[in-house]
């Protein structure tokens, strides 16, 4: 492997790596705009110019392959001058409209201008003007003046989606990014161009003007939109509602952005997943316990009503869950059902469309794989419905979908007639929540810690990003409360970590795993048991 010196420090990297990559292994980021690890090398921004001894000119670190004995300076006066001059070039025609720009706070122009710029401009001419607020697709707005022509978005559409909607138009300083007439940027992954845009040129319609980014509280989690389980960062607003009289925290999810995981989603996520958080706000939420549906009662009363219904139906209890339920909740329901002597448990399959070549899976059940491990392959919705029609069920627990009100079970009248008691546990007023005997609020997808297994059998952590609404609590807590009220002995779980321990004991695929070993990037099945 070639050994080179970067700023006086020796480093050995694989042949074929670039200076920029080699510097990263030393923890040194060479400033860059056009380079993106998920895209081809364009070399156009010229921000990463470094000095390589024996080379007459400065070289771009993103496209210069390391060679044995190379001596690189990334921070001497010559390089700093070049960087400062690039910053000056970037900014002469930039509108500097940071106060109204959504990118402000996470803008590479701001960051590098602070770090590498001269602070003042020598430009006294009239700036070039071009179009602002250009609608280029269902999710993306373009500001041509803010654009620095790094071509990341163009390369994304060419290389990742292969759809090629974006391109450069015109020439020289008049160059702008744009789409072709009647060919909007609408390829199912268009939001990624907003993430990779280093400046405020591309903004997401659903996020623009919603909040300033420094008010966001960011939590690494996973998307529950489909069985891929893309690694993401969930950003929750923390800004007090200035216009409101109560000064309440606006604690809603503001956006999702992908988080790099080479083995799951790379750098990207789909638009449907990116906007899946909106479904959390698409239906009224169950905030209080109800008995029957529509009549708010204290939590303990509702729990004891549910518990006695379950007890009196012992042996004839069934549970129907969403395939987005966390493994922890699934295990809790399985254990409760075992104690109640029932064996009818089913998971609602949720398939839509086809798998695509990139990330999207037809199976929208983010934890279908975990369900199969915990309940076995026979645990289907049909199994539950058959049992209902045969009159083998007296009490049915419906565990509602944590992300999507539409995917919550909605039992047909002829089926509902066969059972005395439906107990609905979920976050949304949807499906059986509107008619159940007992309704218990549960945490939605972004409100609860847990794990899910994606279609490849990778166990990943979904994280609590903000507090549940109302009395909502994690599913396993609901189970624990029900068990307590029914006098059934269950482990005294106090956090999901303890439920995870139970999973590790009881489910083969989870053996040896804990929150730490699953970590931020998840764990492949068997990783924990490997010695």
């Amino acid at each position: 492997m070639p050994k080179l010196t970067i700023d006086g420090r020796e480093v050995e990297v694989e042949a074929g790596k670039t200076i920029l990559q080699a510097a990263l292994t030393l923890g040194r980021e060479i400033p860059h705009y056009c380079y993106h690890p998920g895209l081809s090398i364009a070399g156009n921004c010229r921000m990463c110019l470094v000095e390589v001894e024996k080379a007459p000119k400065l070289l771009i670190a993103c496209d210069t392959r390391v060679q044995d004995g190379m001596v690189v300076n990334t921070d001497n006066q010559r390089v700093r001058d070049a960087r400062a001059s690039m910053m000056e070039f970037f900014l002469i025609n930039h509108p500097l409209d940071c106060p109204i720009c959504d990118q402000a706070g996470e803008c590479r122009l701001q960051e590098y201008a602070t770090e590498h710029g001269r602070g003042t401009s020598r430009f006294v001419e009239v700036k070039n003007i071009s179009e602002k607020a250009v609608d280029i697709g269902p999710h993306v707005m373009l500001d041509q003046e803010r654009c620095i022509q790094c071509s990341r978005c163009i390369r994304f559409c060419e290389e990742v989606t292969g759809t090629g909607e974006l391109n450069f138009f015109r020439r020289g300083q008049r160059t702008v990014i744009g789409v072709f007439p009647e060919r909007p940027l609408d390829n199912g992954y268009s939001g990624n161009v907003v993430d990779i845009c280093p400046v405020g040129a591309l903004t997401l319609k659903e996020f623009r003007f919603q909040t300033r980014v420094w008010y966001l509280d960011n939590t690494p989690s996973i998307c529950a939109g489909c069985a891929r389980g893309c690694n993401i960062i969930v950003s929750v607003g923390t800004q007090r509602e200035l216009m409101g009289t109560q000064g309440q925290l606006d604690e809603s999810v503001k956006r999702l952005v992908p988080r790099f995981n080479e083995e799951v989603n790379g750098h990207w996520m789909c638009d449907e997943g990116r906007l899946s958080y909106q479904r959390l706000y698409s239906a009224p939420r169950i905030e209080r316990a109800q008995h029957p549906a529509g009549t708010v009662v204290p939590w303990a009363d509702a729990v004891s009503a549910a518990a006695s219904a379950l007890k009196s139906a012992a042996g004839k209890v069934a549970v129907l869950l969403s395939s987005r339920t966390t493994s922890e909740d699934m295990l809790a329901w399985r254990m409760l059902l075992e104690k109640l002597g029932g064996d009818t448990i089913g998971v609602r399959a949720n398939h839509r469309g086809d798998d695509d070549d990139l990330l999207i899976r037809a199976d929208k059940g983010a934890n279908s794989r975990g369900a199969a491990w915990i309940f076995g392959e026979g645990a289907t919705e049909d199994a539950v419905l058959d049992a209902l029609l045969l009159g083998r069920v007296e009490a049915l627990v419906v565990v509602g979908d944590p992300l999507d009100p539409v995917d919550t079970a909605n039992l047909e009248a002829r089926v509902r007639e066969k059972i005395a008691n439906v107990i609905h546990v979920g976050p949304f007023v949807a499906g059986t929540a509107e008619s159940a005997a007992v309704v218990l609020p549960a945490a939605a997808w972004s409100e609860q810690d847990g794990t899910m297994a994606n279609f490849e059998g990778r166990i990943q952590r979904v994280r609590r990003c903000h507090l549940p609404q109302g009395e909502g609590r994690p599913g396993w807590r609901v189970v624990r409360d029900l068990a307590e009220a029914a006098g059934i002995e269950m482990p005294p779980w106090t956090s999901y970590v303890e439920v995870l321990d139970s999973l590790a004991e009881q489910v083969e695929e989870y053996r040896g795993l804990d929150a730490e070993s699953i970590g931020l990037l998840g764990a492949k099945v068997g990783a924990g048991t490997a010695t």
Binding site: S85, F89, Q149, R171, Q173
Partner: protein, 427 residues
Amino acid sequence: MERILTRNIHKDDSQSVSVYEAGGGYQSLRKALKMDPDNIQEEVKRSGLRGRGGAGFPMGVKFSFMPKDGDKPMYLICNADESEPGTFKDRVIIEKDPHLMLEGCLISSFAIRARACFIYIRGEYVHGARVLEKAIQEAYDKGYAGKNILGSGYDCELVLHRGAGAYICGEETSLMTSLEGNRGYPRLKPPFPAQAGLWGRPTTINNVETLANVPFIIDRGADWYLTLGKPPNNTGPKLYCLSGHVKRPGVYEAPMGLPLKELIYDLGGGMLHDDRPLKAVIPGGSSVPVLRAEQCDVDLDYDSLAAIGTMLGSAGVMVMDSSTCMVKAIERITRFYAHESCGQCTPCREGCGWLEKILTRIEAGQGRQEDMGLLENIADNIQGQTICPLGDAAAMPVRSFVQQFRSEFQEHVDSKTCTVAHAQAHD
């Protein structure tokens, strides 16, 4: 003096294959096809022929970068995108003696074992493209191109492609990108064209005039070629493009190393107006540093011009007399580069436009004392930091104009007007 490159151009019907053949045309191709391609390369290398497009890179050395074997197809490109302001020498060859160029293309293709030769001609050369189209057809009809050329077993296709009017497409890598059907953007180097050029295949690209020299080198040998000009590094015949304030502008052929004053005062018939003396000369197309009148006792060849800080470039000699406003001149040149910058990389895209705006402002009488230093500094920040040489081409003249004619810039700033225009108005 014997005319070599232009020996045919004044003949009647000089562009036809029969006239070309009657003058001994295509004999070099016959000779070359019987030679070992490596020996052709060696002969060209020994001749000292340097690229006539502007950079002056030795053609034989360029040949030697091509792989000697491998099953990948290889290509030759003839760069006929002559777009440098002040340059019109290739046009004479294309329009008047196209078969000389084609013969050079075919011999060079054979020397590098190219499967095809692509001729990329600038879009504005409409007549030239028509002439070439006809000449190519004649070459095919006569068996000089296509399959099994002259029974040698060597196949080479000739393909003519017209550009769409972008200066940047004269840069070799953007020419290839354009030829492939994409937006004419220069590519990062490495890889160099000889490694991965047109469609990723090993490619050699040469200027029209360079290729036109090859038949003579094959016919008469490198030893003869070395007697022309100033061996070893500045050899061969050269076409000089003379324009500006002279009595007889035009293309003149002379051995490499023609004294600049001989070109202006003898061949060019002297200054256009007898009462307006020489003020400045741009010796190699608008992108090279300008010379003051007192620097003009210089020979027009690569090394002599490099010694005084400028370049032979494309040998586009632009002569300016005392009526020329140097601020106005560089403003116009810079507007060209700002207009033609492809916009791919930051320093050229932003810098050229900035230079133009400053120069326009100074010429309009709104210059500031710090502008001259700023112009030089912006030029420094562009030069050497861009993907392709267009940035350098824009920066070099600006720096040289400011440095060579600083007092004239200063007068513009001090008097808040264009002093040259002002003086002429009051003559």
